[in-house]
Symmetry: none
Subunit: 203 residues, 4 copies
DNA sequence: AATGAATGAGTATTCATTCAT
DNA sequence: AATGAATGAATACTCATTCAT
């Protein structure tokens, strides 16, 4: 068994980087759709248009592959969330919340597979240390935001983690309802939801 | 392969009903923990203290078993949600909401495996018609509640499904944060969350 | 991976014992012919007329299987060597040597696959503690024999292990020459060889 | 697949000859240690410090490689055995035997991997005609020696092949006992063994 | 009805070999 | 000539399902 996944094969040829990306994309789609155990490695290979052996040039094993997919998705989420958010102390919190919400919407709409994958149960079974750390680091800006808001007396005095969990869960609920076909969430609906959320967490 | 699952083997001896229940319980615990594909039938049999062949006396196959588990969990959820809820037109909506929330909390706390199982992704892959119908029927009282509230001008004028999805998602988010160890949700916290929820959906 | 090989499945039904024996016999033949790495598990299963999964009911894995084969072969060898050998102090050493040689010949002729298998290189890679102990225990009677002979001044004063290695190697050389078709070793030839051996080790 | 192995790529550049030799040396070491099926081609390449593709410039396939290794080892053995042996009719047979034995010892001590490799079972599965012929040709001087001795009434009247098999087997037995750590064979011990051997085959 | 030994199709992973560079 | 990334056929092992008891 190879020691560890090639985290940044970018140093290699562009061809190999492209192959790596295809594997991650295929893995994301399939893991999101069928879960870790429901997805076979040759299936990922087929979708990525590479030989199944090739996957093992980039990842030590299936678990390492799913960690690669996880880290790729979390990084992408992270980069969406960071867009246009000011860390300035004078920043308008109401406006910041709107921006973060908007970023989240864009991430979920433009990357539905990544979003679904990240919401999978069962992650805990195979995530490695690196993935776990990444998971925590993505939460950090949210905590900061909430704390600032609480200090400013704008946001309700509840544990930051709880507020985050509630807003995040609410968003996931909306998204799932859309995906499962229970309703069709429009942009306008998402904006309404944003307003409701703010009312909920704001004093 | 047998034609169809024995839905109600209760007609048989009490001994067989007890065995059936043990299988459902074992399946719930294992599917919740490891997912459908991550759980093996002999494993379920071992936990249920029956022979693996015995499972096939009660269920046509693994998929049928997971549907049995699903229906059992949804029914249990349903029965919790129905507790103490008045369908009277004069019922106090604020009070009703509190009751439903309380019921949900009790279900999740007293049946964490059932709750986790119901939140699994991947359900869509194996749920049969019966399970899907059950899923929808559980939502019905919620819809009714929302519609009544909207008619009475007490609840915000948004699609019922969206409001339900948001509240349900919010609750799931809280519960997951607790299970994943991010925070420890107390009874008081759950009550605060309930108040926030109501503020959110009420005009 | 199962914990450990079922050493004596004799406690089970006669049917399972018979299956176990067929697997050991098939393994002996194939490992002897093609070595450990050159033999596939399904191949063993096919020769034993069982499903490949069945092998894993009796052995934890391929390595455990080859240890089972090893122990079976060594035990058989041991039982041949013990035949008609007196541990009496007054026993005639010349006669004893003849008997041991004869036993060895019978073992090799009646169990050519077992004999070949035991002479494989590569054993060291996969033998477990139990197998190693067995290996040593088979040598014990030889050591005793040599030591008695040396004390009686009948056998040359050389390290017992060396004398054993020489006689054993000589016998293996003869047997291999026969198997590889270089010559056809008759009973008479084996008796001559025995006489030469005795001359070699006797004072 | 290429038609046949490049037997003597020495005609090519010295650089290529050196590479060829490194491959043979690596193959000898690995095949001796782990057998044919237990050794991978990329492993041989790595040890030889060449690319795995390079091996296929010198050998048509893995089987061809192992034949190359076999022939190299047998040739080396042959050259050791030929040292200082007179084919003169008046040569002293006792002295010749001592010389051959000494040569064999030197070969085994100085080339333990080659010696081990030659003693592998499983050769029969992949040796080609050329290798087989070489195997027989190495025996020729021995046969001659024995025949001369028998004609001169110095060596016992037994089939030459049998005597060779016995002496060779005896020597292999000693060497294996040393390698497997059962005993430590000294030079003196080897000389004693030589004397015993001579007593055995001489009238 | 209940069991669990037996099966073989299916899965993760390896490795001989090829071929673009 | 030399390389090593890429391939996919092959292999150890698992597990849903059956069936003799």
């Amino acid at each position: 068994m190879r020691e560890s996944r090639v985290v940044a094969p970018g140093a290699k040829t562009p061809a190999s980087l492209e192959k790596y990306n295809r594997i991650i994309a295929a893995g994301t789609a399939l893991f999101a759709e069928k879960g870790f155990h429901g997805t076979t490695v040759p299936e990922v290979a087929r979708k990525a248009k590479v030989g199944s052996g090739t996957i093992y040039l980039y990842f030590a094993n299936k678990e390492d592959l799913v960690n690669g997919v996880f880290q790729s998705c979390k990084s992408k989420l992270s980069s969406y969330l960071a867009r246009g958010v000011s860390y300035d102390d004078n920043a308008d919190l109401r406006e910041s919340f709107r921006t973060v919400w908007q970023n989240l919407c864009e991430f979920a709409v433009q990357n539905p597979q990544e979003f679904s994958f990240l919401e999978l149960h069962e992650h805990s079974k195979y995530l490695n240390r690196e993935s776990r750390l990444l998971e925590i680091s993505v939460l950090a800006p949210f905590r900061l935001f909430i704390c600032k808001g609480k200090r400013a007396g704008i946001i309700k005095d509840m544990p930051a983690i709880m507020l985050i969990a509630m807003v995040w869960g609410l968003f996931v609920g909306l998204f799932k309802a859309d995906v499962h076909g229970y309703t069709n969430i429009t942009d306008a609906a998402l904006q309404s939801a944003e307003r409701l959320c703010w009312q909920m967490i704001a004093r």
